[in-house]
Subunit: 418 residues, 2 copies
């Protein structure tokens, strides 16, 4: 049941009393957000999904000894001593094809034509490659010896029955799907994808696809957030922007049944910032205001146990708060690694970064000639800084920043030309 | 028109005369395969797509000077000298909300309540944050000076009209979509996704989802290839496995209209390996047999100008030939970077890798304690080696391998726990 918190402090037009530390927001998410339940899906649809349980093989792969090359199944010992000057002659008694094995066996002096993947007939123990044998009118001239076992794939050599092939929490790769299919697994238990509802608020917003006109701007956060949610394994749903009317936002929040609710805009201390108060009324506003630039108006709460993120309307702040907080919850719900899904590189700074002690700074940087150039410490609204940027640096709360030449960790956005 | 090549040398049951070098296969692909044409798609659907042309902004973003914080629009110069002991008082004459600007101007002695993103009224040039002002009965007490321009986002500071915002060949990121939406771009020209038809051949194959039985094994390449094609930006189509009947494969190849055709199985020198001969008959078999372990039976050709890849049926060989050759063509057709889409890391070898001069070796490795452990140089059929592996090393043709401790480049498969 949603409960109203009588201690809710309405900060509209007063300012934040106290900002939460970034690490406390992360700790809150890690404590309160756990992976969703499992669902079964067909193996061909499972790429990139996270396994909910270990998968053991019931079958051996291969299920029989089989040829690893095209050639002739022979008794290896018989070929010892064969040379081009002293070739061995064998009689070809049949052929073994993949799916159509030779019914008989290979006796002394005999060979069976065999294709890669076909069962080795009984009696034979090696496959002579086509390149070192000549076939003529049912006779095979063998010019090289071959050891028993050579070019034979043994039963169970790929997968032994009963073993754990792939373990829980693995994010499935293309070759994993192949392995699952090969042992006869038709469906696999994976963690359900989090459903994420994206509510965009703001009287000034026109829907995506419209042209900006006068003092109205076009919603850009919904498309960005939907793409980020998909990247993190979630299933986003986006509606049209809502005007800044408390009762509309209230109804939208109250009716949401998604696993995660993202509210973009209306999260700050402005007069029409209804989201924090509504979250407090309908559920729990766990924290509001974070010592993080440029995403300080972010908030986190819960509707029943479902996490809700109040994201600033400014696009860069929105990206920052999404990646650090909302994305983490979505990644956790989906059973993924919760850490920032960006590659980290260590590079020297081309110019100093100044930061205030007491807050974390999210600083976009461009990497040029192996150095990180800070783009804009402020300018939360400048989405273009994140498209020009190659990534960002997080300056910790206890740091005043870094001098030129300092080695910093850059979280690289996906390389747009890779 | 398909042409029959009279010089086609039928290698079935004879062996390859001559194997192409890996670098020649790559050069052939790079010469013959160029990006597809553009198509327009809606911005929300464009994440991860490759832009076909530069996009210029028609609009300025923002289109007007706007508040970068919640607070009060003032004339900055007037506040000079204001302190808590000597506060300035201004009269609040109205408010400017996002999408609902204040109709008048700000004269001397006046202020306008303003929310982040709202237009700055004429006369005002700075936004005083709510935290440093007190509002009471239409009067504003200002306790700190603020410089003109402070907390104001200038028209065009994010995007100036006419500039190239995002350049051709860029793979669009979530924030890029936001930027496009914000300037009123509804659709974007992107390179068409390559349609890839996957033909799986083999009498021994059961469809995905079946249990292996007797000498019949389950097709695993189709699910693996479909996932790899999607990773590389292609749109895969997979049918049921085809039996090894020449006329069936011939019809399937002849009727394919996909941008790329992948034929898995039947590509080697076995008696029922029809694909090379058919490709030669229906189009062009440009090369067949590559100095590459474990994918030597791979072939490349064209049906009209559409590339066709003959991939070995053995799953590891299939993965190797896909990544090095077919994937490269698909990435090129889609306008992506053609190189292997794996992260490269330099690590020392835990044990030696032996390789024969004259061929490239694709060696799966596991990374343990910062060292690369080779898993299996042979064992093309062992798909489990690629699920256990963290990546692979490519040993160049002129190398006999590497001793323990040698630094090697590992191409990392996606980390299944990241």
């Amino acid at each position: 049941m949603p409960t109203t918190r009588p201690d809710f402090f309405d900060i509209r037009m007063r300012g934040f009393r106290d900002r939460a530390e970034v690490e406390d927001v992360i700790a809150l998410i890690d404590t309160r957000v756990q992976p969703l339940a499992a669902e079964d899906i067909a193996v061909p649809d499972a790429n990139g999904r996270v396994m909910a349980e270990d998968v053991r093989s019931e079958a051996a792969v291969p299920g029989f000894d089989r040829a690893a090359m095209d050639g002739y199944a022979v008794r290896g010992e018989e070929t010892f001593g064969a040379t081009p000057y002293n070739p061995l002659e064998l009689r070809i008694v049949g052929e073994s094809m993949p799916g159509r094995p030779f019914a008989g066996g290979v006796a002394t002096g005999q060979a069976v034509r065999i294709m890669t993947g076909a069962p080795i007939p009984s009696g034979a123990d090696a496959v002579l490659p086509v390149e070192v044998a000549q076939e003529d009118a049912g006779r095979l001239r063998v010019c090289e010896p071959i050891s028993p076992g050579r070019n034979v794939g043994r039963r169970g050599e790929d997968v032994e029955p009963g073993c754990v092939m792939l373990a829980a929490r693995r994010m499935l790769r293309p070759q994993d799907l192949g392995l699952l299919a090969s042992v006869g697994v038709a469906t696999v238990g994976v963690i359900r994808r989090p459903r994420v509802e994206i509510l965009i608020t703001g009287d000034e917003l026109l829907p995506v696809g419209a042209k900006p006109e006068g003092c109205r701007i076009v919603d850009s956060n919904s498309v960005m957030l939907a793409a980020l949610v998909r990247r993190d394994g979630g299933d986003p749903r986006v509606g049209l922007p809502l005007p800044d009317r408390r009762e509309l936002l209230r109804e939208a929040m109250r009716h949401s049944t998604a696993d995660v609710l993202l509210v973009s805009g209306g999260s700050s201390v402005g007069k029409e910032d209804h989201a924090p108060g509504l979250l407090s009324e309908l559920g729990e506003l766990a924290l509001h205001g974070v010592a993080l630039r440029p995403a300080s108006p972010a908030g986190v709460g819960f509707l029943e146990s479902r996490p809700v993120f109040l994201l600033p309307g400014n696009p860069v702040s929105c990206l920052c708060a999404y990646d650090l907080f909302a994305g983490r919850a979505i990644r956790r719900l989906g059973g993924r690694c919760p850490e920032l899904p960006y590659r980290r590189v260590q590079v020297p700074l081309a110019a100093k970064i100044a930061s205030a002690v007491g807050r974390v700074d999210y600083v976009r940087v461009r990497i040029r000639a192996g150095q990180a150039e800070p783009l804009a410490v402020s300018g939360a609204s400048l989405l273009s800084t994140t498209t020009v940027a190659d990534g960002f640096v997080l300056v910790p709360r206890d740091s005043e920043g870094y001098p030129p030449g300092a080695m910093v960790t850059v979280y690289r956005y996906d390389d747009p030309y890779e």
